[in-house]
């Protein structure tokens, strides 16, 4: 079972995160201060760590993170922070964090990002792939060509990048914010439906000819790519 360490001083937030991760089948342990986090993370093997930026007791999140990295604990770390300033994020990532999430966030956003982090860690050499395949859909990364059931699908560059990102994480929930970040390289909470429109166009192109849909909407704020049953 996948074990996740949640380091969060606020008991209620910690409980909510634990519940959300628990619903996704993770085994969750909580630490409430920096020292506790260090003790647990070094004594035990965790698949991922959710780390609050601000912690009581003198050792803050970034110190915990750089200490862990110094002790070659290499579990992927998602940093949580109430500060959304860009340099905060950069500092977090520079200290060895793998992703950054600003409070308040939706539980779907957190679990989707943890899943992606875990998958990225497990697939040791993902970038060597030259061909991505999900069901009857295949993407040739070298020729930048997309085929479904052998038929070539013509995609705009942005649509291709959307699909490539989804294809790299099949069966995983990808939120709009994650897509916006990965595909457009800008980062803020998209409240418009523009990404849905992009997604709709991509979906129509993929499903052309009455093929069963592969891209599914998840609870209004995320997408999942699955091979049709």
């Amino acid at each position: 079972m996948t074990r996740v360490l949640v380091v969060e001083d606020d008991a209620q937030t910690a409980a909510e995160i634990a519940a959300a991760l628990g619903d996704h089948g993770f085994e969750v342990e909580c630490a409430h201060n920096g020292q506790d986090a260090l003790d647990r993370a070094t004594a035990d093997q965790y698949s991922a760590i959710v780390l609050d930026r601000m912690l009581p007791g003198g050792i803050d999140g970034l110190t915990v993170l750089s200490t862990l990295r110094g002790m070659s604990v290499d579990a992927p770390v998602l940093i949580l922070s109430a500060l959304s300033a860009v340099d905060e994020r950069v500092r977090g990532l520079r200290a060895g964090g793998d992703d950054y999430l600003t409070k308040p966030f939706e539980s779907l956003e957190l679990t989707a990002r943890i899943e992606v982090l875990l998958r990225r860690r497990n697939a040791s050499v993902p970038d060597r792939q030259t061909m991505l395949r999900v069901g009857d859909l295949e993407v040739d990364l070298l020729k930048r060509e997309v085929k479904r059931s052998g038929r070539v699908i013509d995609l705009l560059p942005r649509e291709y990048r959307l699909l490539e990102y989804l294809m790299r994480h099949p069966g995983q929930v990808i939120t709009r914010t994650m897509l916006f970040e990965e595909v457009w390289s800008y980062r803020y909470d998209q409240r418009t439906n523009v990404i849905d429109v992009h997604m709709g166009k991509l979906r129509r192109k993929l499903d052309e000819g009455g093929l069963p849909s592969m891209i599914h909407t998840v609870r209004g704020s995320g997408y999942i790519l699955r091979a049709p049953d």
């Binding site: 959304s84 300033a85 860009v86 340099d87 905060e88 994020r89 950069v90 308040p104 942005r158 457009w184 800008y186 980062r187 803020y188 909470d189 409240r191 418009t192 439906n193 523009v194 429109v197 992009h198 709709g200 166009k201 209004g220």
Partner: protein, 481 residues
Amino acid sequence: MRLTDLPRTTSFRLSVLFLALFGGATLGFFGFLFWQANSYLNSSVDHWIQRDSVVYLNNTGEIVRMLDTHAERDPDAWRPFGLFDSAGRYIAGNLHALPQRPVPVGRYFEYSLMRNGKEAPFRGVGYRMANDDILILSYNVNEIYGFKHLLVNAMTWGGILVFAIGIAGAVITGLGAVRQINGITGAVERIVIGNLAERLPTRRGAGDLDRLVYLVNGMLDDIERLMREVKGVTDDIAHDLRTPLTRLLGGLERARRRTTSSEEYARAVDAAIAETKAVLGTFSALLRIAEVEDGARRAGFTRIDLGQIAADVVEFHAPVAEERGVILSFDTDAPSLTQMSGDPSLLFEAISNLVDNAIKFSPSGGCVGVRAYCHKGRIGVAVTDDGPGIPPEEREAVLRRFHRLEKSRHTPGSGLGLSLVAAVAKLHGLNLTIDSSHPGSRVTLERDAPASQGIGGSLPSPAAGEREQMTSEEHALSSGT
């Protein structure tokens, strides 16, 4: 402040201090004058006595006869002189007794005698003759005394007058200050109670206190304006959040009353979640605007290309425009000339809000144009649309939080988009202007080109110019980091 507080006012204290300093200086000056005049007058008297003494001391044989003759000429003895033997007994002259004992020999002394029923002052000196007799010569110094008396009198009365005028002046200026301070404290008390329209009383004049009063009044104007704005925003927040919350409550109540199946419950819960998310979204938009206005995000600035971001925004919104039948176009006359330092995500969001609005308000078949330019040392992005436009009198108001034009009440949106654009523009030193472009409106974000950049637009060969520009940008990049 009462009259008893007068001695505590600064102006009164200063006046009294200056009065004391001036008084001390004047006293010293008059003392010196008095001392100098006195010694001058005395020395002239001494000089006369000296001259007389020569006559007597050179004719010691005839001294008694000379004394008697002189005594006859001065019967009232205004110039008393006398010869006394060593025991102090009278021998000759019009001075019949030694004026002082022990006999003052060889030094000047002052004494008084009765003349015309009054005491009169005299100044004299004693000489010891060769036969041990003592000669006393003296002069009446009534005039010197009179002069000295006059001087002291003048000094005293002058001093009293100056002191009186000084104190009166101190009281008057002190009272003026007390009155003004009373006015100010009264006004401040009324302001503290909550009457923000109150202002500190002003007087004609440019005294230091008056300048302070003008400054404080200017500050009060700002505070009043800010308070009004805060109140306006609070009212708007209350109004704009009440609507979705009322809808949420209505939906939940309806669900409890009518729903029978679990699917219906699920639908009701989904609807409630959507409403709650919208409310949370409004709050986070408000917080974001506050954060951007705070200016803290300037720490995350990097070198960005405004034109590139505008192009990305257009590309991002293209499918939506297509869906709505709006022609969305991007053009630039200055590729890569529009570099500046900034936060790319914030600028994307701001331009995105403008383009989103433009698409939303353009009729089907309308055009939305985004243009990045570098012209006369100014760089910027302009978003033009064919929509209904914004009336000139509303252009200021649309930048306020929650403001929405009457015509747009039915279109979705929080009314916060342009406030965020304004905040982002301000953070980046960009000038936000809204004008009309017949028939629609044009929104422009513009600023001076950064100093490291050449003035574009008039380059003879675009390719060469661009290459040249690249090197200067690279230079700016390497020196910037």
